[in-house]
Every structure is written in C-alpha cells, then in structure tokens.
C-alpha cells in the first residue's frame, strides 16, 4: 500500500481555504441515523455534518455502510423494500424525512452519480434535458438549450460532444458517459451531489478527468463521495469519514486522517491491514 503524500493534501486544503471556498456552515446534518434492512441493522447511529462547498469522502471496508449512509441523504433507500431509517437528516435545517416534504424536490436539491455510468437510452441532449424537463425548469426550447450547454460545460464535456448532441449517450466512452451522468445531475441545479464510487468502472485517465471535475464542482456544490480508493479520497476531499461495520469511526481533515488517524481501526485500514 502506497502512503499518500501529505504535502499534496495540505496544499489542496490550504489553497481552498485561501480562496474562501470553504465555509463553516453545515449544508446537511445527520443526527443518530440508523438504517435497518428488515431485522439487520446496517447503520448504527451516525452523526455527521456535510459543510457547504466541501468535498467529503466516505471510506471503509466493503459492507461498512458508507453507501447505505450516502443513500439516506437523498432518501434513495425509500425505494428498497424493508428498509427503515431512524434518526434525523436535515438539509439547510429542514428535516428531509418529514412526511410533508416532497421527495422529488429533495432529490432535485441532492443529486446523485452512480457507480457504473448509466446514461439513459436517449440522445446526449435528452439525457441532460431529462431532469430539467421533469421539473419544468426551462421555459421553451432556447432555455433548455442553455441549461444543457451550461451543464455539459460545467461537466467538461461540451467541447467533446457539442457536434453530436443528437447521438445516443450510450455511444460515448465510459469516462464520457460518467461525465454525462454528472452533467445530467447538475442540470437540475442541485446543492449537494452524492457520488457512489463514481470512478470504480473507469480507467486512470478518465478517473483523473472526473477527479478534476469534482475539484471544480466543489466551488459551487457540497459533494459527498464514497470511494474504495484511498488515494482518490486523499486527492479530492477536504474531509474524510471512516466507516466500519455500520459505525462512523472518525471524521477529520483528510490530511489528518491519512497521517495521524485518531483511531486504531482507521490506521489499520489506511495502512492496508484490512480492506
């Protein structure tokens, strides 16, 4: 296991702090969150804040509950039969599990990018326009064109696809498909973007591009990213949360977690004693 270069990380965080990109305001807060699948408890009481404009990485061995926790943040667990969530999750102070809350609107505010690139069997244009159309964000075709263009630009894909917007999204390369999925997610103007191992199906070059993109997006969005790659966590995140068997073991500045973890379990994981 290669150790992460600590200088690289401190530079990133320092640079971002100097830019004033990071604030100390919590965008989302989880309080004593527990998740059950039937009788088994997958998450055992987690307290965690996601700050405004920060990138927070969730790491931990397989089955540690990091993806499950991520999915509680936009109520994607609702779609799973027999899944029950306890505790409180707030977005800008508002309880997202409040029965009177519109899940559709919540999901527009908290977007998601999945493990495998999953563009819809539609044209590149229609992939990006899908969300805005459902939410009625565009008044007329010209408006929609603008949303599609700006989303693709922000996802760093515009130059590559501007001449073939009517071609199917499934015809793009894996990395392009994933950036298309990111463009699709930002087209509905979310405030938080959840990413569930977004690079696990990509080659190193495509991964580098997506990581670059995450870095740029963090100026406008709060990003929570689940990753199996510790190098990736170190490269892209401001803070890192280490999960173990459904519990949050520690959360701290990425630099600190990777150089002087507070907890033995964290140290065991980052030094590769279990994975």
């Amino acid at each position: 296991m290669k150790m992460v270069n600590p200088e690289m990380m401190s530079q990133r965080t320092q640079a971002r702090q100097a830019e004033g990109a990071m604030t100390e305001k919590a965008k989302m807060s989880a309080r004593d969150v527990k998740v059950f699948y039937g009788d088994t408890q997958a998450i055992k009481g987690i307290d965690l804040d996601i700050m405004e404009n920060e990138v927070i990485a969730f790491i931990g061995p397989s089955g540690c509950g990091k993806s499950t926790f991520l999915r509680t943040l936009n109520r994607m667990n609702d779609t799973i039969d027999g899944c029950r969530v306890e505790g409180q999750v707030t977005l800008d102070g508002r309880d997202i599990y409040d029965p009177s809350l519109d899940v559709v609107l919540l999901r527009a505010q908290v977007g998601m990018v999945f493990q495998k690139p999953n563009p819809f069997p539609k044209s590149i244009y229609d992939n990006v326009a899908y969300g805005p159309k459902l939410h009625g964000l565009a008044r007329g075709r010209g408006d929609l064109d603008d949303i599609v263009e700006s989303s693709l630009r922000r996802a760093g894909l515009w130059e590559e696809v501007k001449d073939r917007l009517d071609k199917p999204g499934t015809g793009l390369s894996g990395g392009q498909q994933q950036r298309l999925c990111i463009a699709r997610a930002i087209a509905v103007s979310p405030e938080v973007i959840l990413m569930d191992e977004p690079c696990s199906a990509l080659d190193p070059i495509a991964t580098a591009k997506v990581e670059e993109l995450i870095d740029e997006l963090s100026n406008q969005y709060s990003i929570a990213i689940v990753t199996h790659s510790m190098q990736q966590a170190a490269r892209v995140s401001d803070r890192t949360a280490y999960f173990h068997l459904g519990e949050l073991i520690e959360v701290n500045n990425t630099e600190k977690v990777f150089t002087q973890p507070d907890h033995d379990l964290t140290e065991a994981y980052i030094t590769g004693r279990f994975g």
């Binding site: 994607m76 199917p168 015809g171």
Partner: protein
Amino acid sequence: MTASQLFFTRHPVLPGFTLSFGLSVLFIGLVILLPLSALFLYTSDLGWQEYWSIVSNPRVVATYRITLAAAFWASLINAALGLLLAWVLVRYRFPGRRLMDSLVDLPFALPTAVAGITLSTLFASNGWLGQGFDWFGIKIAYAFPGIVIAMSFTSLPFVVRAVQPVLEDLGPEYEEAAHTLGATQGQAFRHVVLPHLRPALLTGTALAFIRSLGEFGAVIFIAGNLPFETEITSLMIFVRLQEYDYPAATAIASVVLLASLVLLFGVQWLQGRYLTRLRGG
C-alpha cells in the same frame, strides 16, 4: 490483415475448421434448406394461375385473416404478460422462483396437442374456467378467443426469454438515476426501463407472432375449426393434405413460409438498426 482474415488463420478449439464448418452447413442444409426446396419444388408443379386461385380461395383468405388477427392479439397479450413475468423473475427473490423460471419453458417442452386438449377442457362452456365466462355469455373454446389463448400459451416463452437477460443487465440503478432526477415510478419505467427493453421486447414479440402464425397442435383442439370463422391457415394446409391435394397444401404452406421469413428478416433488420444507433453509429 483484417480481423476477419485473422479469424480464419487462428487455431480453433474444435479441431479442423473445414470439418466443423462443413458439418454445420450440412446440418443447416438438411434441417432448413431441404424441406424448403422440396416445398417450392412441389409448388412449382402448379402454374401461376392455379397457384393464385388456390391461395386466394375465399375460405383460405378467411384463414389468413383469422390467423393474423389471432396471432396479433396473442403476441400483444404475450408482450405484456411476458414482460411482467420477466420482471418478476429478475427483480424479485421469492421461494419457488427457480421453479417458476423453469416452468416458463413448459409450453416449449409440452406437446402442443396436450396444451390444446388441456386448454379446450378448461375453457369449454362446461369446463372449470369456461363455466365462469359462459355465465357472462362469453364463449372462449370453439371460438376466436380460444385461438388467441392457445397461441399465447405456446409462444409466451419467446418474450420472457428475450427480455429476461436484458433486464438482468439493466440493474435498478437506471431507475434510481431517473428517480434522482425527479421521475416518479411510472415515469422511470416509461422513460428509462421500457426504452432499454424495447429491442428485446420487439424481437420476443415478433418471434411469438411468427410462432403463432404457424401454431397447429394447440389451436385445432380449441378452435372448433369452422370454415370462415375459426379455421386457421395451418389447419387449412392439413385439410388439403387430407383431401390428397398435395400441391394445394404446399401452395398454402409456401404463403405461410414466405410471411414468416419476411417477418423474421424484418425483425433482424430492425434490431440491427436499433443497436447500431444505440452504439452511436
């Protein structure tokens, strides 16, 4: 060297390209081309005029209409039922799933005559199910609905087996992605799942349709076989055979064959076009 040239120089796992290729061609020839050519040979004994008068005989034309209509409804039912079955088999885990999965193939394994007898017993006006429908004044066995039911029974596996692997590949994250963008369950299904399944669903339904056009065993027991009302084309062929009118039988058979071939190639073409479009061609 192009890829195809490379292919022929590569050492295959099965010994001898000449032998394995030759056997395949021989088999295809025996199974498909021999009966096909015999059929056309028989038909060629007839002059055009004779041929035309046989295949455009009003009673025969009525069988085309009935067969096409019944096959159409049967494949429509199969498209819906087959999609549902495939969905249940792929997306849910329940006791007896493996059994259900293997039962889907039963219509292929069961002699069609057995299916026909069973269905006609069930749906006859004094049968278990037929009684209920009879009470409402709906006649199923020995009427048009009986043909549709027999056809959909024997061709259901086509749709299920075509859709199932695609659905397995699809995974729930496509619907989830649609949900994250604000789609309701129904919208996610219509906008995302269905377009993914469309080529497979189309192929399966078309195969079911083609199979239904030629269905004989299951239908004749339940259809009642009244000329101009419930007589299907494959039965018409049989009737002509029983009259020892071989040229007429083969003439009608050639029409069925031609229709099936045209449909088969049509489906292949459509599917090929759809796939190249999806891959960005």
